[in-house]
Amino acid sequence: MAKTKYSTEEAIPFWRDERVLRVLGQIVFLVVAVSFFYYLYNNMITALAAQGMTPSFEFLGRTAGFDIGESLINYVRSDSYARALVVGILNTIYVSIFGIFFATIFGVILGVSRLSKNFLVAKLSSIYLEILRNIPLLVLLVFWYSGVFITLPRVKEAITFGPIFLSNRGIAVPWGIPTETWASYLIILFLALVVSIVVSWRLKVIGDRTGRPPLRILWVPLTFLVLAMVGWLVLPQSPLEIEYPALKGLNFTGGYVFSPEFMALLSGLVIYTAAFVGEIVRAGIMSVSKGQHEAAKALGLTSFQTLRLVIFPQAMRVIVPPLTSQYLNLTKNSSLAVAIGFPDLFAIGGTSLNQSGRAVEVIALMMGLYLLSSLLTSVFMNWYNDKIKLVER
């Protein structure tokens, strides 16, 4: 008799049924969100219409009409907006790759030296970390730019370090100019790369078989270097001719000139990010328990072997995820270039926006591109992270 109480006639009313409520709640949320965004969108369209505009990307094909300070590809002011933005993207990638490379090296040195037994070295690097981590990057960038790089002497009185000239026009360094044999040399380099990959794989096989992993990090680059050198000597004409910068009139000719904007941005990004990388590396090394050191010692490994075979593989697991976010930060932070006039994606986007008046489209494009680069970097780093995770038990 009691059972009838729970029969279907007296089921929970739908407004108290959690399953129904979940769906209803989401529908309400969706309606509210969509109508909110539609309201914003509608306002935007009305405001744009008042200025006689409709959002479209066809302006990208029009002539940009502004100059860009430095570019990796050929660009003139009669090129299109799209090409100008490509210049910006390439410049962003250029400075980010350089930045990530140097920040990693510098950061690892800092992190390791902070753990050094040498009192002075450890203290110096910890002072460096404490100072740099507590100063805004933008302050650092404007300091480097207006305080250091453009206050360097004029071209005529440039500071010289051998063939390198430091002046307020930038840093002129010797540069290789490709000759006729450059194309064949590239093929040799490619072959050398293939050979070293094969060597790397063979060494790994040998290491797996004998249980004595050879120093791949030494032998593989050595193979590549030796082959590259042999190729250089074998060719009838050397593939690159070194050209030295020389003072001519009011500027340098020859060599390659890194602009003060680029140098300020790069050095700012590197010394700032290196401080964070240093902390990450230190935390990673410290996360490997003391027992691992002692066990490695007990097995008779030398201290270098201990670091290479025991500590580092385990530390990497802790290091990689936060390192990824530092790399992403560096790429995103390179947008601060706009404050010192380096033509990165954001700076060129800003100029295009002012020239064309297409605020909505340009901003959407820029955000999309940064988002894409963030996603690509994290996909790559997640792949790498999964790869080294296999070391885990």
């Binding site: 070295v121 100063i135 302050v139 300091f143 601060l336 940064y370």
Partner: protein, 399 residues
Amino acid sequence: MTTSTTEVLAPPTERYTVLGWLRRNLFGSIGDSILTIIAIWLTYAMLKPSLSWGFSVAKWTVIADNLKLFMVGRYPAEELWRVWVVLYLLAAVVGFTWGAWVKGKEKAGYVLLGIPVFLALLPFSPTIRMMILALDLFGFLGIILGRRDNPKFKNWSIISLLLYFPVGILLIGGLTGETGFLPTVKPDLWGGLMLTILLAVIGIIFSFPIGVALALGRQSKLPIISWFSVGVIELVRGVPLITILFMMDLMLPLFLPAEIRVEGVIRAFVAITLFSAAYMAENVRGGLQAIPRGQYEAAHALGLNGFTTMAFIILPQALKAVIPILVSQFIGLLKDTTLVMILSLFDVLGIGKSVLGNPEYVGTAKEVYVFVAALFWVLSYGLSYASQRLETSLGVGER
């Protein structure tokens, strides 16, 4: 053979002598010695030119002449007393909270009270020195009041802290329109260090509820809500802050109906809040994930529903665990607010840039930027140091 146990070994003197210390820490091996020499040379090479620049070449008058600009920007001089009141209130509230919560720990209290004394030693005019020293007076009054044995004081101190921020912002922004006791000071007139701090404080306060909501949304089992939250969080975190600032600066006027005009500072506030909320959400999510399943199950067993479980069991614990991370997020935000300079707002860095635009101060870029960097360093390092000390002594973040 038998060595008597009473035969005491000579004390290991080497450990305590200067030479012994040097040998162990600096010249342990040849490699070590080389490193030490390089380090000494580096220190000398860096320190000597910096010090000689700082003490003889640098023209620090650019800072002294523009100190008011650096601190409060174009805030009207006759209303400056309101900024002082806000500072005094801060001293009093912090003192009261300290008195109510912290028993003992006299030393740390003296250090806090020592900050204004130290500031007063800097070369300010006598009036300003007195004004700074008065901070200590208010702080001390607060402590004495808080020390009274009243069990309600702990709650009152939290309420006063919560009330402090809206009251402070009202005092600075004004209340009574164009005239009257507290005339409105438009946000576009806020500037300098005050604007920097206000941007960070308001950003963190407003982003807190949004961040918690986004974190809960991301954890939610309802697909639409969780996709929406993930979308917002990842979109904001995937782009640089400067693009968000830029977007808000240009597009907020487009998004809103034409009648509503929004000042530049307010647009920056909105952008910074949105940016901070996404990062807040990830931090809060970390706190939520740290709560063991047993807590959810126990709440369920007690008959709490989803909402009450969150409100009374999970969130209080998660937020408590997140407090230390919030401090570092605040420091990060404080540094990030410098980006509003690119929108030509006059935060402390923007003021620095505009001072350098004055022909009278040409060639003082190093002095100005070193000063700005030092300001930020003192603020962020001081905050992180204080929060570390407080965490260990009060056990915040431990459950």
